[in-house]
């Protein structure tokens, strides 16, 4: 079996940010304890003209820049994983495919599995490429997720997207193996026609995030016969700053290993974009030969594990598009809660 992996990767984040203090002020909450408890300072906010589709298009353009001149007509599949697809019926993928000139010979469907829909898309694209069904598969994880007003998740629900073009040649990072761990776990959900999701409080921790993240991580490492110290980097799903740090520690990873892929303290939770975006920021600094463990988590619940090995091509390719940390840290526009509520359609208006 030949090699498969990432030919091009890209990320896109909106410019706007809101600080924890701004949100806490409105709900009479204690900002310092939220910041400490969640290890979170601020999050990204999509303005009204940014949605999962627009973020996905820009992330894909960055991936195409790094893929170095592939013919988009040869992309045989596009899957976007999100919990905030702009349409309930009409796939986000068709618009992205149209925008990059990949139509009409292309497979497409939208994916949903809470925060791991993006990594699921990555898994499927790797499989299609491996099977020889498509020359390139485009997998995107992106969201402009909603947090219920006054709820803990309002502090972290953020926006962003990461795109990966999977193929067999000119790889930037090779996929060594994958492993999935999934059960029926009702920790966080959104019923049809509901605007905001709901969650089961502390139950979202140990029986949900940690059980599946660690289950997938351990299963992945066992499958490839590696231990934490064998990896250069580790990227975990990051619903806040604290959970991935704790999971990493529990599994035996160091802060240094997780550092490049740990963005949530100033990004928030980009849901289906979370661990995929963490992977892009890790690739931005990785060197040839580095290995990366990536473990996503999606409520409901499940985790997808990946082991990536960075190739020589990373040095030539990483700066062909903007680095994730630059999008995260620079040229930011801070907004107040009123603007945030307007942007996120939380204000009731006449039809």
């Amino acid at each position: 079996m030949g090699k498969v992996g990432i030919v091009g990767y890209g990320c896109h984040l909106p410019r706007h940010r809101i600080k924890v203090e701004e949100i806490a002020k409105v709900w009479g909450a204690d900002a310092p304890s939220y910041k400490k408890g969640l290890m979170l300072r601020e999050k990204s906010v999509p303005p009204p003209d940014c949605d999962t589709i627009t973020l996905s298009v820009e992330a894909t353009k960055n991936a195409l820049r790094r893929a170095g001149g592939i013919n988009t007509a040869e992309i045989g599949a596009i899957y976007i994983g999100s919990e905030s697809h702009p349409y309930a019926v009409k796939p986000s993928g068709v618009t992205v495919a149209e925008a990059i000139g990949a139509t009409p010979n292309i497979h497409c469907a939208d994916f949903e599995f809470a925060c791991k829909a993006g990594s699921e898309a990555m898994f499927v694209c790797l499989g299609l490429v491996k099977a020889g069904e498509v020359k390139y598969g485009l997998a995107i994880g992106g969201d402009t997720s909603q947090g219920a007003p006054g709820d803990a998740l309002e502090y972290s629900a953020a926006a962003g997207a990461a795109a990966f073009i999977m193929g067999t040649e000119n790889l930037v990072a090779e996929s060594i193996d994958t492993f999935s761990y999934m059960t029926d776990t009702p920790d966080f959900w959104r019923r049809e026609y509901e605007f905001y999701p709901q969650h089961a409080g502390r139950y979202t921790g140990e029986p949900a995030y940690f059980k599946h993240t660690c289950g997938a991580a351990e299963g992945m490492m066992k499958k490839v016969g590696m231990k934490p110290s064998d990896f250069t980097y580790a990227v975990f799903h990051q619903p806040n700053g604290k959970f991935p740090q704790r999971a990493g520690k529990m599994l035996g990873f160091t802060k240094e290993q997780m550092e490049p892929g740990w963005l949530s303290p100033t990004l928030g939770n980009t849901y289906s974009g979370a661990s995929p975006i963490g992977l892009t920021s890790t690739l931005d600094v990785a060197k040839p030969g580095d290995t990366i463990l990536m473990v996503s988590y999606g409520s409901g619940s499940g985790s997808d594990g990946f082991v990536w090995k960075v190739t020589d091509r990373i040095d030539e390719v990483r700066d062909k598009a903007v680095r994730t940390r630059k999008l995260l840290d620079e040229n930011l526009i801070y907004i107040d809660y009123g603007t945030y509520a307007k942007f996120r359609h939380k204000i009731k208006k006449n039809a």
């Binding site: 303005p47 009204p48 627009t54 820009e58 702009p86 618009t95 149209e98 925008a99 630059k326 620079e330």
Partner: protein
Amino acid sequence: MYSARDWREYPRRYRLEAGKCKKCGKIEFPTRLVCSKCGAREFETEMLPDTGKVLTYTVIRTAPSQFTDIAPYAIAIAELTNGVKLTAQLVDCDVDKIKVGDEVRIEFRRVQTDAHSGILSYGYKFVPKWY
């Protein structure tokens, strides 16, 4: 609301496809059937570049109803690096600090939303070129 009209515009709105006159080289955006410079009728597809400079701009403070969520918003006429001029919103910036000559880049954005249940219209907008 305008499914057919939106769909017909995708090559321009989504991909910035222009037409280059085979006879005189003029780049028409949108593509046309007749070259506005030499009158010839044959064109080849040319993709527009995604960066340019602001030629003029304004800030719309009294917005039409479909744009009240983003008011005040700026619109600009920018000249792309190949000389083609376009009108579009200029977003992600302080509307009071825009200057003629500012460098811009094109990004894919949602331009209009047809109320709660209608179709979504995507297209190009300008953002400041900060990298």
